[in-house]
Symmetry: C2
Subunit: 346 residues, 2 copies
Amino acid sequence: MIPNDDTPHLVVDLDVLDRNLDRTAALARAKGLALRPHAKTHKCPEIARRQLDRGAVGLTVATVGEAEVFAAGGVADLFIAYPLWPVGPRAARLRALAERVALRVGADSVEAVDLLAPVLAGTGAELVVEVDSGQHRSGVRPDEVAGIAAAAGPAVAGAFTFPGHGYGPDRAGAAAAAEAAALAAVELAAPLRSGGSTPTLAHADAGVLTEVRPGVSVFNDAQQAELGSCGLADIALTAAGTVVSRTGQQVVLDAGSKVLGADQPAWVSGGGRLPDHPDARIVALSEHHATVRFPDGAPPPLRRGDIVRVAPNHVCAAVNLADELVVARDGEVVDRWVVAARGANT
Amino acid sequence: MIPNDDTPHLVVDLDVLDRNLDRTAALARAKGLALRPHAKTHKCPEIARRQLDRGAVGLTVATVGEAEVFAAGGVADLFIAYPLWPVGPRAARLRALAERVALRVGADSVEAVDLLAPVLAGTGAELVVEVDSGQHRSGVRPDEVAGIAAAAGPAVAGAFTFPGHGYGPDRAGAAAAAEAAALAAVELAAPLRSGGSTPTLAHADAGVLTEVRPGVSVFNDAQQAELGSCGLADIALTAAGTVVSRTGQQVVLDAGSKVLGADQPAWVSGGGRLPDHPDARIVALSEHHATVRFPDGAPPPLRRGDIVRVAPNHVCAAVNLADELVVARDGEVVDRWVVAARGANT
């Protein structure tokens, strides 16, 4: 599974990836929900293709730049699930995109709608109003949606929310219930009710939602494993790191935060996980060092020079640091995928 | 200072940068210490040139890949301050580098020295043994240095340490004292005693150290400001972000963790700082959202569409996410620097 490249680098296990893709597609299908996976996680047209081949209706992205990359990669239906502020060069980029693909764009204010309307006029692009279902980031109250939609005229597809407050132990069920309650309270004739995240996916209320947008489930990560959304064996993307130092119960790997990302919510057990050493913990993460502690007792089963797999806490952050993903199956490198939308933040 | 590019993007204030460069150079000069700044922070040959022009003896880097970029950019003296494990393609890359520039390489075990010796033989490259001065990451005890150096033969320059445990409120003085104690306890004829970090720089013990390797001080960041190593006005690099959403005392910016990085030690006040709004706090950071809270009382002084400057907590992480830095002076864009060593992790 680990190629002969210099470490650290990111490796995708193709069998696990395909299993994850199948599982997410089956879950949405069983619930009768349209699946529009969030491509910010993988940023790869090759993976987008695999998602569409399994029945995804289109992709979700976070930025105009990501949408441009996937449109160039042949994806014809895109939702920018973000309250865009289209001014400057971005306005012209957004219009060019709307003329090229079926496009939906988020908005959470009349002011944004007033800017978006002329940019998107005549293109067939639709607005989707963002509702806050409890994360208290962007989005409006359900009773404010109709007013924003009215300002937009007829080109409104419906409403969306992101139940991001489901990222925490034992929070997914309540967050999914809040998501359904918020979308159910929206008074809007336009039918789209889009929600979903990886932790809340299994709890998504098909009586209210019409569409789900999980991102991380394509790869999974240490965070999802510790939340119980997946097992360590379901993690498809890991960093290959070399043991460069060793003292007592501790080894240091060369896969640090510049490869794994630095996301570390208070409820995780460390700076990532070693799927092949579930009792080890990453007790410190610096830019080029992961300090790994093994339990007291037997000496660590790793020598200097050994290469190990490290699952990042938050896979979206790790992918966005890499230029390419090494793709492996049964221990052989079978492909290399360019992270085409890496850094596409604007 | 903020160009008309789409947000988010990183902007360097050239006047503040030059002031920071002057201050660090003056501090090292006043102490009689050789200055070898850590280039992992900026990853830009243009900034390396400005450091060398101010008297730096060479640069520090963390990886062979960073060394390759700066060697290609004309830097003739490089120290890879990392316990390298030179196998596979990296061994040949390291040798090519050693044949091209004056090179020093870190090591913290006899095993690594045994691998490095044939790779570097005949090139004039020198080893520097890493000592643990209290961070407990890589490095050995001072009394172990001589044994490792003996294994290497004559090509040993001395010893180095990184007092990373100085990253915490009121810890810099004690960490600098520990650094000096560890280096003073090294029994080695080779004279180099290299230490230093941005927080400990002002406390560096010139009676023991011969060289310092600060990285962050070139830009400074929110973390250094909250540690008291600098003021908010000394932060030379910020992300330009647009207000995309607003509710109550809260605004949301489009500069999230995919631009700022996600570093957030327990002792910082949030996900970064707004230098022009010192009373605001980034209470949540997601990939494309910074949720900013203003104190109760007056409404937030920012409207949707306003562009504001955001200082990342850890500037090294932010730079490593960007392809280029927009360089500004007195409100005008004067240059654009490619982040040439971005992602050079191997």
